[in-house]
């Protein structure tokens, strides 16, 4: 066995373990309540917030301060890469590596590269957006401490969870529980990492 493989060390790095706290989580039953509570909690000065919901809740990003997704930038670069790949491929193959005159047509011309260039641009952007979701979200992930909350399994069904993460500079477990209760959360619990 590899001596460097130390479970405690890895857990420590990931912020897991009974002595670590992930955050304080509270439950809501309607999306409007979640957004309202999120806004109030943020106004109290908390910055490291998260919310879990079974569907995208309108307005939650502004309420708890989730920055706009940067995924679009990655996709644009891949679109450009797709266009270049198609152009270089067709030019190299037809005009350099195996020049073959067919029907007196030029060995390379932009007009007949349009369909394939378009298709490859689409293909590359599609791959970028698909993998982008997982790369930007830090997935795949086998385990997440938020699943320890008793209502976590309902966050994909009919419950909306608000989290104040322990990484927040203002974090204090007792006060957070109080604050979450004051904005109307049910089942408020301190969740271990």
């Amino acid at each position: 066995m590899n001596p460097k493989f130390d479970v405690d060390q890895i857990k420590d790095k990931l912020g897991l373990g009974p002595d670590k706290i992930y955050g304080v989580m509270g439950e809501f039953s309607e999306p409007e309540e979640l957004v309202e509570a999120g806004r109030k909690i943020r106004e109290m000065g908390y910055t490291k917030l998260d919310a879990m919901s079974p569907f995208p809740v309108h307005g939650i990003d502004e309420a708890i301060g989730v920055p706009p997704s940067k995924l679009g930038w990655m996709v644009i670069w891949f679109t450009v890469l797709g266009i270049l790949t198609a152009q270089i491929l067709i030019w190299y193959v037809g005009a350099i590596d195996y020049p073959l005159v067919i029907g007196g047509k030029p060995l390379f011309d932009f007009s007949y590269t349009i369909p394939i260039t378009f298709e490859l641009a689409v293909l590359f952007s599609a791959f970028a957006s698909f993998f982008g979701i997982f790369i930007f979200n830090g997935l795949p992930r086998l385990y997440h401490p938020s699943s320890k909350h008793p209502s976590a399994y309902r966050a994909s069904d009919d419950r909306f969870l608000l989290v104040i993460e322990a990484a927040d500079p203002k974090f204090d477990a007792g006060k957070c529980v109080e604050h979450l209760r004051s904005v109307g959360a049910d089942v408020v619990e301190v969740v271990e990492g």
Binding site: P31, E32, D50, A51, M52, S53, P54, F55, P56, V57, H58, I60, D61, V66, P68, S69, L71, G72, V75, L89, V93, G94, D97, Y98, L100, I102, G103, K105, Y112, T113, P115, I116, F118, E119, L120, V122, L123, S125, A126, F127, S129, F130, G132, I133, F134, N137, L139, P140, R141, L142, Y143, H144, S146, S147, A152, Y153, A155, S156, D157, D158
Partner: protein, 469 residues
């Protein structure tokens, strides 16, 4: 809340997209229970249907084996009809796929909320239809194990590159891109629903499988932010993609010099026809699913009526294209072009042409009447006649143009063989088998998206309640 939903005046103007005012949990329950039921306790009628349809799929495997063993001479293709049922079936299946992407991408960009109940099954239908389509050109090559020659992969047994000036290679790129992008789009939509399934099941094994498939999705606000951005981009790139695919398919014909093929109207005409046939196919499948799985609350008459309106519009575009083709054939003054179109309507294949005009142009006009647009039996019959008509459209375009082109000495006729027929029937079997398996083992309706619509709906009706006061 429910009192507001039942207000008849309100229902008339803007009926709710999710009927019966269910809660979020009811929705998960309704959709997931189909998937979660014990496999062994699946109703017997499901297994009977699956085995009947499955045996047609076995027939497909037998036919393809027979074809590879003997060579493509077992099909009816011969001079002068070198492209026959194989390309007809290819275009037919690819066309059917188009409705799925239209529903998932174009209607998404147009903010058509009613798409949410039907987009998952329509996207699945796209994937299965494109699989069926791919079989035909693949086996028409005669040596499907050399299919990699179609792609620019350096190899030592061909030692030649593809001719990128040919529309046939464009088609290879278009169809394979289309399949890949449709698959990614479909799976992206499935991820949050797989997480729902993971959280609902008590079985350790199922939790593990669904957990791996959804890759640890937990519905965090950051997840949704990136997810929605990616979904929007996928929709935005799929929209031109779906228009490009059938345009490129039509280039296979339009760039040739055969009378009846060499026309610039082909790309828009093919795309409209594809959406027309695809919507009809979604309609057939949804009506069956709605009835057998009791999904009346989620797939309401409003959804079906909206689809019928699209069928009416695209059917009329197709009718316009037919008329336009005839006009241009006459107006061009080209002898061959004029002859081809007269031959199409009154030559040896007149019956095929008139089946196509009747099914595609005349019958859908019944949808001008609201009563017929909302009648389940009428829409079921029309959805089937539409697909019969669209199959004949491709057959008419391909076969009549090839049987009689320029010199009468080169004319001929086309006769399909039993292998042609059984192979086509086999792909229908494959398509239905895949759809049936999908409907049983994956959520057929996008749970998270319908919940989003439900949230808006609740909000909307709440607002109207306030105004009413």
């Amino acid at each position: 809340m429910s009192a507001v939903l039942q207000d008849p005046q309100l229902m008339e103007v803007n009926p709710p997209l999710v009927a019966g005012d269910p809660g979020y949990h009811d929705l998960s329950q309704k959709i997931c229970q189909i998937v979660e039921g014990d496999v062994l306790k699946t109703p017997r009628k499901y297994w009977i249907t699956l085995s009947v349809i499955g045996s047609i799929t076995v027939l497909l495997v037998c036919m393809l084996t027979f074809l590879v063993w003997n060579g493509i001479g077992v099909w009816g293709n011969n001079k002068p009809v070198g492209w026959a049922w194989d390309i007809t079936n290819f275009v037919f299946w690819i066309g059917i796929g188009h409705a799925g992407t239209l529903i998932s991408a174009i209607l998404f960009l147009f903010r058509q909320k009613w798409r949410t109940s039907i987009n998952r099954s329509a996207e699945a239908m796209t994937l299965f239809a494109v699989m069926c389509a791919g079989i035909f050109p693949l086996f028409h090559t005669g040596r499907p194990w050399r299919a990699y020659w179609l792609f620019p992969i350096p190899n030592t047994d061909l030692n030649i590159w593809q001719n990128f000036r040919s529309p046939l290679i464009w088609d290879v790129f278009a169809v394979s891109t289309y399949f890949t992008v449709s698959l990614l789009f479909w799976f992206t939509g499935l991820v949050p629903d797989l997480a729902t399934l993971r959280d609902r099941t008590a079985s350790r094994l199922k939790q593990w499988i669904y957990g791996l498939l959804c890759m640890g999705w937990r519905g965090s606000a950051r997840h949704w932010s990136n997810y929605e951005k990616a979904y929007l981009i996928l929709a935005a790139i799929s929209t031109p993609l779906v228009l490009s695919v059938h345009s490129i398919v039509s280039f296979d014909f339009a760039t040739s010099v055969i009378p009846g093929w060499h026309t610039t109207i082909f790309p828009p005409y093919f795309v409209a026809g594809a959406i027309f046939s695809g919507f009809a196919c979604v309609m057939t499948l949804l009506l069956i699913a709605r009835w057998t799985l009791n999904l009346q609350e989620l797939i309401t008459i409003k959804h079906l009526e909206n689809m019928n309106k699209i069928i009416l519009v695209t059917g009329s575009i197709v009718g316009y294209a037919y008329g336009c083709e005839f006009f241009i054939a006459w107006y061009s003054g080209n002898t061959f072009e004029r002859f081809t179109f007269l031959n199409r309507a009154f030559g040896p294949y007149w019956w095929a042409a008139w089946t196509m005009y009747t099914c595609n142009v005349f019958i859908p006009q019944l949808y001008w009447f609201k009563k017929l647009r909302r009648n389940l039996w009428v829409m079921f019959v029309i959805s089937i006649t539409t697909n019969i008509g669209m199959w004949f459209e491709r057959f008419v375009i391909i076969a009549t143009s090839l049987t009689r082109d320029f010199l009468p000495s080169a004319w001929g006729e086309f006769h399909p063989t039993w292998v042609d027929m059984c192979t086509f029937a086999g792909t229908i079997g494959l398509f239905l088998t895949l759809f049936l398996v999908f409907a049983r083992f994956l959520p057929m309706i996008a749970i998270s998206e319908v919940k989003g619509v439900l949230a808006v709906q609740k909000h909307q009706f709440k607002g109207q309640e306030v105004i009413a006061k």
